[in-house]
């Protein structure tokens, strides 16, 4: 949830809560005040009524201002001095509708006769007034909330704009492309503090990263020389006359392992160099030429494995890429498709201006295909492989915005490269 939405929701829930309670309290206060005023009016009428009654010695006409005399009846003395109010509905015969009234019941003594008298005061206008005030207040309140919400949303958008800008910059930040992060300065202190921290952090990370890359490359190169020594010594040892067969085997195993280490090291150097973007040169190359060159080199192997090769080339297809990396890219894909092919399997290559597709027969992968382009991913069956070929392919495609995609259909492993437009 966005921060502004969250604050708006918090605000809204508090506002609604306050609004509900406020409006109820407001209603009852208003009601109370109005009742008090009406009671006062009824009391005034009562005094006027009693005065007139005393003057006339009988009950006068029924209306006193807004109040009217409803009923009077004789009662026992004991009930003297009652005086209470209540709200009631009385049927208005003219419109055949119940209308609200406030009813005052009191007792008094006239000529030694106790009477219970009820007086009425219509509530029609005051009720109407209360409802109008109530509605108006509600409307005002809602309007206030809406305006506040809009203002809140707008101002938080304004405030957080710098934050989102920075976020976007961090998101797009790539250590391999950018040297340092360029954040726009802002006048909000907290965000500026954040930017300062971010700048400092990325600077440190970038410097650590470049040191690490340098270190990796140097270390890898340094490894080459001792490996060369080991290899050469083993080779010399092999030339000794009359070595027992057992010792030949030991030397051969050691030599094989050091060869493998050497290959691994060379491949890792290549990967590091690709990651370090040390292949900046880009040229227009024709993949068909490269592919045909590689296939030509594999001719005997394809023949001896009995692989059925089919190629479809759209003429004059070209892409912008580093020529050396293009060579490695297609070599690795073709090598992979031949190595993991089955005897008498198929190898299909298609090239057009947007897609390069290479498919080879083979049993389905025994490991998750999502890991296929990961370093040191290998099928359990090929322990001799380094597991770096496809990871190099992936690195190269990333460098040149080529999309890569793998799937397995009809017993064929299909790798597709989608060239950028």
């Amino acid at each position: 949830m966005k921060l502004s939405t969250k604050t708006s929701l918090n605000f809204l829930s508090v506002a609604l809560f306050t609004f509900l309670f406020g409006i109820i309290a407001f209603y009852y206060t208003l009601r109370y005040q109005v009742d008090k005023y009406i009671n006062l009016e009824l009391n005034k009428s009562k005094i006027a009524l009693l005065e007139q009654t005393a003057k006339l010695n009988k009950f006068p006409s029924t209306t006193y201002g807004n109040c009217q005399l409803m009923t009077y009846k004789t009662i026992e003395f004991s009930k003297e001095n009652t005086n209470f109010y209540k709200d009631t509905l009385i049927l208005d015969k003219k419109v055949n509708r119940y209308k609200p009234y406030r009813l005052m019941t009191f007792s008094t003594t006239i000529n030694n006769q106790a009477y219970e008298i009820q007086m009425l005061r219509t509530l029609e206008e005051t009720d109407g007034l209360i409802i109008n005030i109530f509605l108006f207040m509600t409307l005002l309140f809602i309007l206030l909330i809406v305006i506040l919400l809009i203002v809140n949303q707008y101002s938080s958008n304004q405030i957080w704009k710098d934050f989102y800008l920075s976020l976007d910059k961090i998101n797009k930040f790539d250590l391999n492309i950018h040297k340092d992060i360029k954040l726009t300065t802002t006048d909000i202190k907290e965000f500026e503090d954040l930017n300062i921290v971010l700048r400092r952090m990325t600077k440190r990370i970038a410097s650590d990263y470049s040191k690490m890359k340098e270190y990796t490359e140097n270390a890898s190169h340094e490894i080459q020389t001792p490996l060369a020594i080991i290899n050469s010594k083993l080779e010399l040892l092999l030339q000794c006359k009359e070595l027992p067969e057992k010792q030949y085997q030991i030397i051969a195993d050691a030599s094989e392992a050091s060869d493998r280490l050497a290959r691994l090291n060379k491949t890792l150097i290549l990967l590091t160099r690709i990651e370090n973007r040390q292949f900046p040169e880009e040229k227009t190359i024709f993949p068909q030429q490269i592919i045909e060159k590689h296939l030509n080199n594999y001719e005997e192997i394809i023949l001896s494995k009995g692989i059925k090769l089919s190629t479809t080339f759209e003429p004059e297809v070209n892409i912008q890429i580093n020529p050396h990396l293009a060579d490695i890219l297609f070599l690795n894909l073709i090598k992979n498709a031949i190595r993991h092919n089955i005897p008498n399997g198929e190898l299909k290559i298609k090239l057009n201006s947007t897609v390069f597709e290479i498919a080879n027969s083979g049993a389905p992968l025994d490991i998750d295909s999502k890991l296929l382009f990961d370093r040191f991913f290998k099928s359990t069956k090929s322990s001799q492989s380094l597991g770096l070929g496809l990871s190099i392919v992936k690195k190269i495609t990333e460098l040149f915005n080529i999309k890569i995609n793998y799937n397995y259909t009809e017993n064929l492993h299909v790798v597709k490269l989608f060239f950028p437009k």
């Binding site: 050469s232 030599s255 005997e300």
Partner: protein, 226 residues
């Protein structure tokens, strides 16, 4: 051949020297740039084997120096730098070959042989050994004047063996020589076996001695002294 080896790693230079001396070359070794400069200026060598990264200088400058002296000598670079730019630069200033460390001594030896042919038999480039007669440029081989029909890889294999006679050559060494980056070593062993089987068969069919011996589990040997 008279060879100058410039390599600062003494362990490595001693291995190379031992291998080359065994081959009958005269090999002088130096571990320092200044020393190498002096030697190049004073003497003449058939071939220079140069390491690029020397503690007191750059091997490329030695190559430039040799080229300036207009020496006929062949030049092989051995370097731990695997990048293409280094290779291109080295070859651009006149080196014949660029080997990245680690390399097989048999490979280095094969390159020396081809340099030797270029220098000493300029033009009439051919290899003769007993009944075997090879024209490397034309990719043709003969046994007792009968032509051998070989595939490209078989021919390369024969040349490689001829350069490293009486040497145990590991399967990995052969794989590296024949395929380089095209094959991962272990994958290629079956193919090496097939190629060697075919080569032996073809050679013996037209009257060659069976020179190629299997060194069990290790590799092969082109044996001339039985």
């Amino acid at each position: 051949m008279k060879i100058l080896l410039i390599e600062d790693e003494i362990s490595l230079s001693s291995s190379i020297e031992a291998y080359l001396v065994e081959e009958g070359h005269i090999c002088e070794t130096t571990n320092f740039f200044e020393d190498a400069v002096e030697k190049i200026e004073l003497y003449e060598y058939d071939c220079l084997i140069v390491d690029i990264n020397l503690p007191d200088g750059n091997g490329l400058d030695l190559i430039r120096l040799a080229k300036k002296r207009n020496l006929e000598s062949g030049i092989i670079i051995i370097s731990a730098r695997i990048s293409l730019e280094n290779r291109i630069e080295g070859l651009d200033i006149g080196a014949d070959h660029y080997l990245t460390k680690p390399f097989h001594l048999a490979e280095l030896n094969a390159h020396l042989k081809s340099i030797n042919r270029r220098i000493h038999f300029s033009g009439s480039n051919q290899i003769n050994f007993n009944e075997i007669h090879i024209l490397p440029e034309e990719h043709r081989a003969f046994i007792n004047n009968k032509e051998l029909t070989l595939t490209r890889k078989e021919f390369e294999l024969l040349l490689f063996f001829m350069a490293n006679k009486n040497r145990v050559i590991t399967k990995a060494g052969i794989a590296e020589h024949l395929w380089g980056d095209y094959m991962d070593t272990a994958d290629s062993f079956d193919f090496i076996y097939t190629h060697i089987k075919n080569l032996r068969h073809k050679m013996m069919k037209i009257g060659s001695v069976d020179y190629i011996k299997t060194v069990y589990g290790v590799g092969y040997k082109f044996e001339t002294s039985t």
